[in-house]
């Protein structure tokens, strides 16, 4: 089971924190700090795995991946495989990349709730449910459609007629894909 997902930048600022077991805010902060202090002391070109038992208690492993200014951190127990989780991070980042076209730290900051949506599609209640980034994208877009962009809205206004609307909507959806 996955215990926590964190994204933090290289200065230790938390960009995303999701714990799959409830922890108090103070505890969460403590853990984030603990993780960061370990992460920032790691050299380049070492393994992506950290023995996290001293931070998260027994039976916990930590896998992180460093992208540009961000650390992506997954904490999990022995029922997961380290290398696989490393790829899970890869999937997560690939999805973000597809979502934002060349994702950068700012995208994650400014689209806070969308990141959560993506993560929820991947990891559900601590279990990995979806590992295909295209599937995740599909699901997220499905949700995004509920918030049509202003452009689409103005078009819809003009085409109240059902048939025309639907063809147009289809067209738009195709473009979106």
């Amino acid at each position: 089971m996955i215990k926590a997902v964190m994204v933090m930048n290289t200065q230790g600022k938390s960009r995303l924190a999701k714990f799959y077991e409830y922890l108090s805010v103070e505890k969460q902060q403590e853990l984030i700090r603990g993780v960061f202090s370990v992460l920032c002391s790691r050299a380049e070109n070492v393994s992506n795995f950290i023995d996290a038992e001293s931070i998260f208690g027994l039976d916990s492993r930590l896998v992180y991946k460093h992208f540009a200014t961000l650390y992506f951190v997954f904490v999990f127990d022995s029922s997961e495989n380290e290398l696989a989780v490393l790829d899970l991070i890869q999937v997560f980042v690939e999805t973000l990349d597809k979502c934002f076209q060349n994702v950068c730290e700012l995208d994650i900051v400014f689209n806070y709730s969308k990141i959560h949506t993506i993560l929820d599609e991947m990891v559900f209640g601590g279990q990995v449910v979806e590992t295909s980034s295209s599937e995740i994208m599909k699901a997220v877009e499905e949700i995004s459609k509920c918030f049509l962009s202003p452009f689409l809205l103005s078009c819809v206004k003009m085409h109240v007629d059902d048939v025309r609307f639907s063809t147009f909507a289809l067209f738009l959806i195709r473009i979106n894909r």
Partner: protein
């Protein structure tokens, strides 16, 4: 989608994020966040905040809380948002509550109702978001409220919903297994879901279920294997590929499950061999995910019933991992190696240099993993190197958690394998010095006990040597500035007991040191108490020896201080000291006998020594004592008090041995080991770790298992003693073999071994530095067998732990034969001259045994009885070797043969016949398993397990056709259908029939399975088939577009409302100027007007 992708946020929020991002210090950030909280508090409680704004406030709250500030004032608003009709707002609400609340929060009760409603929603997105909340927010009490709906959702047409419903059910299972125990069958059903994604998700709960109860899922082995096979053969839709690997995450989960199911189950394991072997072959080891699958395969192989072919592939994969440049892979390699050496210990040999490289790697994680591996492969020959390394590393790190762990490991290893007492004491000193306060106090007690008890009765000179060396080292260490409390306690105790024992140091010198300790650590009461008692002992010994006691001035002042101490314990001890000093030699001798800390104190509960005194008093007219129980009216209380007295008697004055441990010491802290201490008094020294390997094998003798994790102290120290007195300690009943001759032999063959090893290595890898080689030789050079504990168990009276080296001439023979043929059979050579655990006691791994017997290259094994007192044990295949060596062998042979008078000689040569020899000398238990193993091997060699064949037959043509249709739904339906079809046929299990019937229900293309193939054909032929799906797509898109339109209109409405409020405000402004009281009445109609306007536009 653009970066704003519909998740619109206001400029204010962006500004907030930006300013926090630019904050230079934590204080500045806090200031910004606090002012933000103030703003939010104000705004959020304003009435009539528009939803859009509200949504953003909530997001900001979540953000604020992520930064570590309390946002609890907004929780209720988040809860309110979940009631909203708009999906967008609802989602935000749910997101916030799942992040804010825990399942026991007071507000949960307000959400349960909403969740119930949302689970019934027509919009599957709403259902999904509600399911998400269910996972996080429903606790044991509220499970029944949503359970029926969740179960319904398991059959939802959308696979996303099914998937999440399964996960929710899984979550319930984790929280309260009993609440969903009747629904467990649903997981089995969903395993044959027509969507592979749902099937994959189902593996998560099944993995948990199987972890808890393997046996009730054995019937699924075939299904899992066939699913895995299909996945590996790329029968899943392309969409499930990841980096050219077919559904690797599903493969990993399946392998994990198979590892559980196959563990110790030969039958189940046999079914898996083919598919696991296939995956080994197919795995692409260039990609990360491919290696993840490979690693999982290794784990699986090391967990299931061993198969030589698979073990070979696993070893192969491990060596690839270890040779890789990637630290991740090295890490996995080390981990995998640690798993595999439990089964085939000889594999470590090939990788010794890689392991040493990892040990010296700058990467901490890798280093720790390597230490873990070394810990697993420690034996008496390499313990010094390993423990030294561990201590060096322990000194270098600051992480207390890991320091504790590694310190306790050092202690554990030192206790088990210490080659000499000197070394042990030095090692313990180092551990205490550097990790003193992190070490369990019991370790200290253990050390004291060891020093007190020495090796046992018959070797007093060695004992006193040990003690005086301990005293000496402690006096030296006392010069260090700051020592941990636990260590000081040990030092004080040892100095008190033995400081003056050998006469090397005068009493005044020792007491002076003790006083220094008490002064230097004046805020540590325990240390002071130990010091006072030590002082008392030394003075007592002096008095008893008839010498004049001459208290040092600093000692006097110390006593004065303690006599007035606030600590009653200290005060008590000081008074005792004072009293003892005043007594004469005879009295002191009897209350404080020298070196009696090991003697048991007998407590005379009847206080019979007082009888004379009582008699005297009664004669003088004193009242006789009435037992409390006989006194009136206080029966219950006095009973209580009786007990108290009892207790008190054991806690009261203790001049002696205040730290004599009553239990065996556990070096491990985890509570799991606590239970085992009950077994202490059993005299036979069974070593815990033996059961380590046996855990994977079903036929573990129960006593070995029960001693797991327990540190047997009594065995330990005996073991360090002279290594020669093994005979007559045998308590084991399996065979009566005894090793005659101990450590000298071992040394001889070891050096021979490492010598050959070194030449072997240097022949192969010239560029390796000599230090590394030396290290390698010292780490791996010794016996390469798994036995961790039984290597120590020279003493352990296990039959034949030293069989091989029982004869001096024999071992020289071995060396000779090694030299004659060093290259052809390296593994054989390496294995020579080693204590073979394999054949000892409750054979941990009979299968390996068999291999050993059947293959010429492997280990020496069973032992044959020679005589009742001293059995010369001779491994059969060595015999074979000897018969081949021309000179000198003759003499040897006849020698042994004379010993083997009762076993026919012909048995000694061939492969299968040797087995009989082995059997004849082994316990019946082992015999059985050996026979079984013969069967396994036969099965293992023939590659065809029934299942794949059947599977192919069944699938036949349709299976191949199925690859073509582009839509995955149908494809996978067939896939799973076929996999389950094969089930009832292969194992005849009836419980799959319901599974198939459910499949019938869910397959929409036909009602009967036999028409499936036909249908597939039709589909393939139908040129419009793919178009049809596009139409379906279009319909779907239309409906979503429709929904979007509705959503848009809602948004419009919202905006209108906002506008309305604006107007309202304006109206209010006007009204305020005129008639303040009328505003409510005026605003009402205005609002209605605008809503009408909007409605008209709709």
């Amino acid at each position: 989608m653009g970066s704003q992708g519909g998740f619109y946020q206001s400029k204010e929020f962006l500004d907030l994020v930006k300013s926090i991002g630019e904050a230079r210090s934590k204080a500045e950030e806090d200031r910004i966040v606090l002012s933000e909280i103030e703003t939010l508090k104000r705004r959020i409680s304003e009435p009539d905040t528009p939803k859009r704004k509200m949504k953003e406030y909530i997001i900001r709250l979540v953000y604020v809380e992520m930064l570590g500030h309390d946002a609890s004032f907004g929780y209720i608003h988040a809860v309110k948002m979940t009631h909203d009709d708009s999906l967008l707002v609802k989602r935000t609400g749910y997101l916030a509550v799942t992040l804010f609340l825990n399942e026991d929060h007071d507000l949960i009760i307000l959400i349960v109702n909403t969740i119930q409603k949302d689970l019934k929603s027509d919009n599957y997105l709403v259902v999904c978001v509600a399911l998400n909340a269910v996972c996080k927010l429903i606790n044991e009490e509220t499970i029944p409220a949503v359970l029926p709906q969740i179960v319904e959702l398991l059959a939802h047409p959308k696979e996303a919903v099914r998937k999440k419903a399964i996960m929710a059910l899984h979550r319930f299972y984790q929280k309260s297994p009993s609440s969903v125990s009747h629904l467990v069958s649903n997981f089995r059903k969903r395993l044959c879901d027509n969507d592979p994604g749902v099937m994959g998700a189902t593996l998560c709960p099944l993995f948990d279920l199987i972890t808890n109860d393997v046996n009730s899922y054995k019937d699924l082995v075939i299904s899992f294997v066939s699913i895995l096979k299909q996945v590996a053969e790329r029968r899943l839709p392309k969409a499930y590929d990841y980096h050219q690997m077919p559904a690797p995450f599903i493969q990993i989960k399946l392998l994990k499950i198979l590892a559980l199911l196959g563990s110790g189950d030969k039958q189940a394991s046999e079914i898996m061999y083919t598919v696991v072997g296939d995956i080994f072959r197919k795995c692409d080891s260039s990609s990360n995910i491919g290696n993840a699958v490979l690693y999982e395969c290794i784990c699986c192989v090391s967990s299931i019933y061993p198969n030589p072919k698979l073990l070979a592939s696993a070893a192969d994969a491990i060596s690839r991992f270890l040779k890789s440049d990637s630290h991740n892979l090295k890490y996995m390699g080390i981990d995998a190696l640690g798993r595999l050496i439990k089964i085939s210990p000889e594999i470590a040999e090939q990788h010794q240099l890689a392991v040493i490289d990892c040990l010296e790697d700058p990467d901490d994680t890798l280093k720790r993993k390597t230490f873990e591996l070394l810990y697993k492969m420690t034996k008496s020959t390499n313990v010094e190197v390993i423990v030294d390394r561990m201590i060096d590393y322990m000194i270098s790190i600051n992480d207390n958690h890991y320091k504790t762990e590694i310190a306790s490991r050092c202690v554990e290893l030192a206790e088990q394998f210490a080659p000499s007492n000197q070394w042990f004491i030095q090692t313990m000193n180092k551990v205490f010095e550097h990790a003193g306060d992190l070490v369990n106090i019991k370790v200290a007690h253990n050390l004291m006990r060891l020093i007190a008890e020495g090796f046992g009765e018959d070797d007093n000179t060695a004992d006193s040597q040990l003690r005086s060396s301990a005293v000496e080292s402690y006096l030296y260490i006392l010069g260090e500035p700051k020592l941990p409390s636990v260590f000081l306690q040990v030092i004080c105790w040892v100095l008190g007991e033995y400081g003056t024992a050998d006469g090397k140091y005068s009493a005044s010198y020792i007491t002076g040191k003790l006083c220094d300790v008490a002064e230097a650590y004046s805020n540590d009461e325990t240390v002071k108490a130990y010091a006072v008692t030590a002082l008392m002992k030394i003075y007592a010994f002096e008095i008893a020896a008839g010498r004049m006691v001459d208290m040092l001035p600093e000692c006097h002042s110390l006593m004065e201080e303690f006599l007035a101490s606030h600590s009653t314990d200290l005060q008590h001890r000081a008074y005792e000291l004072q009293a003892v000093i005043g007594l004469d030699a005879h009295a002191v001798e009897s209350i404080m006998p020298s070196d009696a800390s090991c003697e048991d104190i007998e407590v005379d509960k009847a206080l019979s020594f007082l009888n004379g005194y009582i008699q005297e008093s009664i004669e003088k007219g004193a009242q006789p004592y009435i037992p409390e129980s006989e006194r009136s009216g206080m029966l219950n209380i006095s009973n209580f008090r009786n007990q108290d007295h009892h207790e008190a008697s054991s806690h009261g004055l203790r001049f002696e041995a205040y730290e004599l441990p009553k239990q065996t010491v556990q070096a491990r802290i985890p509570p799991a080991s606590l239970a085992s201490t009950e077994l202490v008094p059993v005299p036979e020294p069974v070593y815990p770790r033996e059961s380590y390997q046996t855990t994977t094998v079903p036929s573990v003798s129960s006593d070995a298992a029960s001693t797991e994790l327990k540190l047997r102290l009594d065995g330990v120290q005996k073991k360090w003693g002279r290594q020669t007195h093994f005979p007559s300690t045998s308590t084991s009943n399996s065979t009566s073999q005894k090793t005659v001759n101990g450590i000298t032999q071992v040394d001889g063959s070891n050096t021979a071994n490492s010598r050959t090893r070194e030449t072997y290595d240097s022949g192969k890898q010239v560029e390796i530095s000599p230090e590394k080689q030396k290290l390698a030789a010292s780490l791996f050079g010794g016996p390469s067998k798994t036995e961790k504990k039984s290597a120590t168990g020279h003493k352990s009276s296990k039959p034949s732990s030293h069989m091989v080296k029982s004869h001096a001439p024999k071992s020289s023979m071995e060396v000779a034969s090694e030299k004659t043929s060093p290259v052809q059979q390296p593994p054989d050579l390496l294995d020579f001259g080693e204590p073979t655990v394999k054949s000892t006691a409750p054979s941990p791994d009979p299968f390996k045994d068999l291999e050993g017997l059947l293959e010429p290259t492997t280990q020496v094994s069973s032992a044959v009885n020679h005589s009742s007192t001293a059995a010369v044990t001779k491994p059969p295949d060595i015999m074979g070797l000897y018969t081949e060596t021309p000179a000198g062998a003759h003499h040897k042979d006849s020698d042994i043969l004379s010993g083997l008078s009762n076993s026919p000689m012909t048995n000694m040569v061939g492969g299968t016949t040797t087995m009989q020899v082995a059997q004849s000398s082994k316990s019946p238990n082992l015999k059985d398993s050996l026979e079984k193993d013969a069967l396994v091997r036969q099965m293992g060699v023939t590659p065809s397990s029934q299942n794949p064949n059947l599977f192919k037959d069944l699938l036949g043509d349709c299976g191949i056709n199925l690859i073509q249709p582009p839509r995955m739904g149908f494809n996978s339906q067939i896939l799973t259908a076929s996999s389950f079809l094969s089930n009832p046929l292969t194992n005849g299990a009836t419980d799959h029939i319901p599974v198939i019937t459910t499949l019938h229900g869910s397959i929409k293309v036909g009602t009967a399975l036999d028409t499936v193939g036909q249908l597939v054909e039709e589909q393939c032929l139908d040129p419009f088939f793919s178009d049809k799906t596009n139409v379906m797509d279009a319909v779907h898109n239309l409906s979503t577009a429709k929904k979007a339109e509705i959503q848009y209109l809602r948004n419009l409405l919202e905006r209108a409302e906002e506008q309305n409020r604006l107007i309202q405000a304006q109206v209010e402004l006007h009204k305020n100027k005129e008639v303040t009281g009328m505003k409510d009445v005026e605003a009402g109609p205005g609002e209605i007007c605008i809503t009408k306007l909007v409605l008209r536009r709709m």
